[in-house]
Symmetry: C2
């Protein structure tokens, strides 16, 4: 069992390059935790006791409004970690987290991680780099939400996917409803945005498969604003 945890920890990008002794001490304090599709890991406002890493599966981090609309902040997959904020602030989780698939997670109590960071300046620098990249992503998300309309945001999202998948035939990584929530809109509006891009000949859509027909056109749209 300790063995499993060690292997799992080894697969987490953030802990790459950590000396084996430290990995082992991390393994001692962390827990492997299975969770099912739809399971809520924590909710915005709860005291933030643990830091998480995804061993397998998929987790979304989001904020919900009282009326039920949700804004996805990020989706995390195998090798990624999340819920750093309360580790260093010691307060509450700023957002909620829910499994989008049956998943396996590592949960690490914040105290232990802080101890480790005190002893491992290189890990600390990695953590700062990770936090910084999150900040960069959020800056982009804020700018998109505030300065761009839905079809433009969709174009940007598709270009990101294309870069990640390395080809023009994309497979959507999330159900469309979740993509809508990530883009800060609702499924109906996303549906119409997809139709619009199709009609303009920029993409072709069949279910969760999307072909990018005109990458430059998409890029022009994504850059543009009203």
């Amino acid at each position: 069992m300790e063995k499993d945890k060690l292997t799992a920890l080894g697969g987490i990008k953030l802990f790459e390059g950590l000396p084996p002794a430290q990995l082992k001490s991390l393994a001692e304090i962390s827990q492997l935790k299975g969770c099912k599709y739809g399971e809520i890991l924590f909710e915005a406002g709860q005291p933030g006791t643990h830091f998480f890493a995804v061993v397998s599966g998929k987790v979304r981090v989001y904020r919900a409004s009282l009326s039920g609309k949700e804004q996805i902040l990020s989706v995390f997959q195998a090798g990624e970690s999340f819920a750093e904020v309360p580790v260093f602030e010691g307060k509450t989780y700023p957002a909620s987290a829910q499994a989008l698939e049956d998943s396996v997670l590592l949960s690490i109590p914040r105290r232990g991680l802080v101890e480790l960071l005190r002893r491992e300046p290189e890990l600390a620098l990695s953590v700062m780099a990770l936090l910084s990249s999150r900040l960069r992503a959020f800056v982009g998300q804020i700018a998109q939400l505030s300065l761009k309309e839905v079809p433009e945001r969709l174009a940007g999202y598709l270009l990101l996917l294309r870069a990640a998948q390395g080809r023009d035939e994309l497979t959507l990584d999330l159900p469309k409803g979740q993509i809508a929530s990530y883009l800060g809109t609702i499924p109906e509006t996303l549906s119409r945005a997809i139709k619009k891009l199709s009609e303009q000949g920029l993409i072709e859509v069949a279910g969760s498969r999307v072909s990018v027909l005109d990458p430059e056109g998409l890029a022009a749209l994504a850059e543009s604003d009203r």
Copy 2:
């Protein structure tokens, strides 16, 4: 002159509690820099060479769209620091920065700061806490932009100001146009939102002075969503 820098560094919250020797080495590599109202310090996309701290004055960090609309991410005042992201990522600034008043800044080259962080785990932890609090703020901002309407966002902003100023008679800390940009809207829409809150008897406005008449009502509005 070195003396000035030391005093200035001593006033920066992030560096509070740093051993004098380290402060001194920071002073050696950092530069004092005056800048005038409206001066642009850096623009989104430029290589991020420096980290900044505000000695006096006021700086806004924002993203602009091609068409001229702007979204303010944060406004920094004396004692605060900004532009951490490229320090740890070594890439470009994710947003632009502009002086909102004649200001004095400290600029610190990223290399020197990284060196210092390697030697000072406690400073590293402070930086992680700072980055985390930024993330928390951005999560809130994303949620507001996506899940709430302008009058609700305004209500939230006024409540924050009220908490900061500790009384019900507020002085707006920014021109209304800048507040609009912070709230993700335009001056006309902000004007109407202010009028709406006034008509509902929640606030009373005269120029840049705002009286909060009904804090609970404001809070109810800020929490609510459509």
